[in-house]
Symmetry: C2
Subunit: 235 residues, 2 copies
């Protein structure tokens, strides 16, 4: 079956605890030695788990002090979003599927290089419009290779995010990727979706996300209205 390494199990536990508010923002996580005792692990293993949390921006470590819990960034899938209005609180997030997942061939001039197995298997294609605070914020087109994803095209992605579905049903998780970012004038059809004017500046992202499955990459193209919301990132 799916035997997760120990450090990842601990990571998942701590991540869930932080996100669900077990630890308050600014408070300290149990020390590494305490976590060792609690979970029956040694310090290098615990540190490996904490490292992933640092990478996620969920904790910040300070030598001599401890691991400080940070406010998790508001995120949709792999995008972190910040409202320009300072009133944050609980955001109202919504996803509308404009094109349900369908299987089709990869386009001829697909903007990323594809491996042979990806090209042979065909692509699962879907389009979504994402709302924050009731307003449309970005529109995305997604391609993923049609490799070993039983019943995927019939799954509902309205409530759960694409990545959450891949994570929970197929044990696929993103472990990195690359992206190109540009500012462009919004084309007419997309402007209509985002309820902005044709020609208004929008963020245009092309991203390739690598997963824990070798050769299984997810490709997304995103048009993002950054007038009302901002893309926020850590590096």
């Amino acid at each position: 079956m799916n035997t997760m390494p120990q450090y990842r199990k601990l990571y998942e536990i701590l991540r869930r605890h932080i996100l669900s508010g077990v630890y308050e923002e600014g408070s300290l996580l149990p020390s590494e030695n305490e976590l060792c005792a609690l979970h029956g692990l040694t310090r290098p293993t615990v540190r490996q788990a904490l490292e992933s949390l640092v990478k996620d921006g969920l904790i910040a470590k300070r030598q001599g002090k401890g691991s400080i819990v940070r406010k998790p960034p508001q995120s949709i899938g792999i995008l972190s979003i910040e409202g320009t209005a300072s009133a944050i609180g609980d955001k109202y997030l919504k996803t509308v599927i404009l094109q349900k997942p369908v299987i089709r061939k990869w386009e001829e001039n697909f903007p990323f290089e594809l491996s042979e197995i990806e090209r042979e298997s065909g692509a699962i294609y879907l389009e979504r419009l994402r709302y924050v605070d009731g307003k449309p914020v970005f529109y995305d087109i997604n391609h993923l290779p049609n490799i070993n994803l039983p019943r995927f095209t019939s799954r509902s992605l309205e409530n759960r995010s694409l990545f959450e579905t891949l994570r929970s049903h197929y044990q696929i998780r993103i472990n990195g990727g690359e992206q190109r970012i540009q500012a462009i004038r919004c084309p007419e059809d997309i402007a209509a979706l985002l309820k902005i004017k044709k020609g208004d500046p929008v963020l245009y992202l092309q991203r390739k996300m690598a997963t824990n499955r070798e050769g299984f990459n997810i490709y997304s193209v995103i048009w993002f209205n950054s007038a009302s919301h901002t893309i926020f990132g850590r590096f």
Copy 2:
């Protein structure tokens, strides 16, 4: 003095070797055990060095195979840039200092939160215009706290990048940060610098970079013409 940890020394060595072309793109780095023997270290230490290289995108690791050397992304400071024209080769990079480093007070409504010590020390301020392939690509405004940087305001930053100067003269290196990204219409004064039309879409970045010096953060605001070049990033 400056006693660098072993894993960082090895990282610096390998980084220099990769960037200077000792290892060809696609070739394999010496195996972890070989690196252990070569440098008199143990595997966890070597792995710690390799981890940083993975984070930089300079190598990709494959279990059972080895560490594959990747083409380093073209970067200016901490920005990776990709030409829209496929002709890459050796780029002609140039920096023009529009405002030499000067010491001044932090602005009242500075867009980031400042620590007390940062606010008290005042800011070093500089403006630059950066050229790629002979064309102006982005304009940036930088603020860094005036803490223990002897003779900084009289240094030339034309040839060496700001980060390279901080790295080599003051042992300050960036180890992370956060940024906000927006697409905006270019204001008139900046459009003139970038040789584009007022109102053309540009990328607008606000970033805060943390360093190895506790409480020493660098703040940049960037206007980037993404029509001719693209911001490229790994995550």
